[in-house]
Symmetry: C2
Subunit: 233 residues, 2 copies
DNA sequence: CAGCGCGCTGAACAAGCGTTTAGTATCCTG
DNA sequence: CAGGATACTAAACGCTTGTTCAGCGCGCTG
């Protein structure tokens, strides 16, 4: 257990142990399946204590969200300080002690809601910054839509995360699931990122053409964020 | 309602109407949240009738799976007959009357299980065939790992499907969600597929090098399927 | 020592779940 | 017209869920 904080589980307050266990169990089986009684039994306390500390089951979820989001922010700041080529998504998958956190985030993304959106947006911001640096250093090609490209890469990463169970043989043990899945896609991914998929720019040119002729249909979709369109005028 | 079959809802047997409603409601709110009572109320029958026809709630799910899988197979065969450039995933997203089916598949992919794996594998097989044709006709580059590339593309497609709610503004109505999400990723996707992401083949070469030096680590991951390795010997 | 707060428990609560059971119409068949 | 299958319902069952409530023991404070 122990999650991120250092020291023995015995050193943590019972409230913290409940929170950590809840994160693990919600991540493993989902919010609904992780019942108040099951979590309490796992920690070794009464169900009533859980409600005493967190008010309600939703209060517990809120506390978990807050904790995970705080931890996530710290991690991002940490790896943003050095300009290592590690993305946040990749790092989440590798460090074993934060696997419960990753599973919890995975569940949250599936369930939807404000918390998941915060995480997703943070991932996109982080990925975009990483890509910007890579463009500046000449390793990555510039793009007409940096934000959109970052979104696409986050979607691909999280997609392989969410669909990991279908990428590996059925009998793969749960703890090897995500690493095995990302290794499965490594070569095709690198190949795609290096050479692309199409032999020429026909599709892209056609889409740009269509886009130029139907400028109305995109403003409603893009929404928010980018107001600056000076470079295209 | 009416789903795929033709005619008025009144023309269908009550059993079929229950099944269709179940598909819609499970797709909308998940298997657990779509209770027997809620489905029965939506159809306008008693909860007991549902059990009378399908034996149990799991029996109902089984019937839904069977129906969706059968319908899916028909669709795939249909668009595989002509060599249109439409992928199955894309088609699912566009035809409005099969949106409930798509939502149901989406939920099933999240919940996991045999049915979801069947759908996923079928999508991969179909995508791979489509890519093979495109390679033969010269529109798409050949690859060292055709199956892996097909998996990657399915993951990207389904990923944007699963994460659609994060790709669009919060207030986007549910029925525009998937189209809006895929349009959001259209330009970055085409750009990536046309030019790739990296400026040179450094990362790919390094990985291939590493792969050549550590040939052990991949057999356990690849698993199943491809036994033919004659071209590399 | 009295008393208050805090961590904690056992037992119970109402509500919702999937499911069962007994029974009622209805229609087809002999 | 008799009779059995079929479509369907009302009511209840047992179980699990989140939540409440009264109360216990312990440590700190006055």
């Amino acid at each position: 257990m122990r999650l991120v904080k250092s020291g023995d589980p015995d050193d943590l307050t019972t409230k913290a142990r409940i929170r950590d266990t809840a994160i693990t169990m919600i991540g493993r089986s989902g919010f609904a399946a992780a019942t108040v009684r099951a979590i309490a039994a796992e920690v070794g306390v009464s169900p009533a204590l859980l409600l005493h500390h967190f008010g309600s089951k939703d209060g517990l979820r809120e506390a978990c969200n807050e904790y995970v989001l705080g931890w996530y922010t710290v991690q991002v700041d940490e790896i943003a300080r050095d300009d290592s080529p590690a993305t946040v998504v990749g790092m989440i998958e590798r460090t074993p002690e934060m696997l419960p956190l990753a599973a919890y985030i995975r569940r949250s993304l599936i369930d939807g809601g404000t918390f998941a959106r915060q995480i997703f947006d943070a991932l996109v911001v982080d990925t975009e910054r990483y890509l910007d640096r890579s463009v500046a250093s000449g390793r990555v090609r510039p793009t007409a839509d940096p934000h959109g490209r970052a979104v696409l890469m986050v979607v691909t990463s999280l997609g392989s995360h969410l669909l990991a169970e279908y990428l590996v043989p059925t009998e793969t043990p749960a703890e090897q699931l995500v690493p095995a899945a990302s290794q499965r896609l490594m070569l095709p991914g690198l190949e795609l990122y290096t050479h692309g998929l199409f032999t020429d720019s026909g599709y892209l040119d056609a889409y740009r053409e269509w886009q130029r002729e139907n400028p109305a249909s995109q403003s409603s979709v893009r929404g928010e964020r980018q107001e600056m369109r000076e470079e295209s005028s």
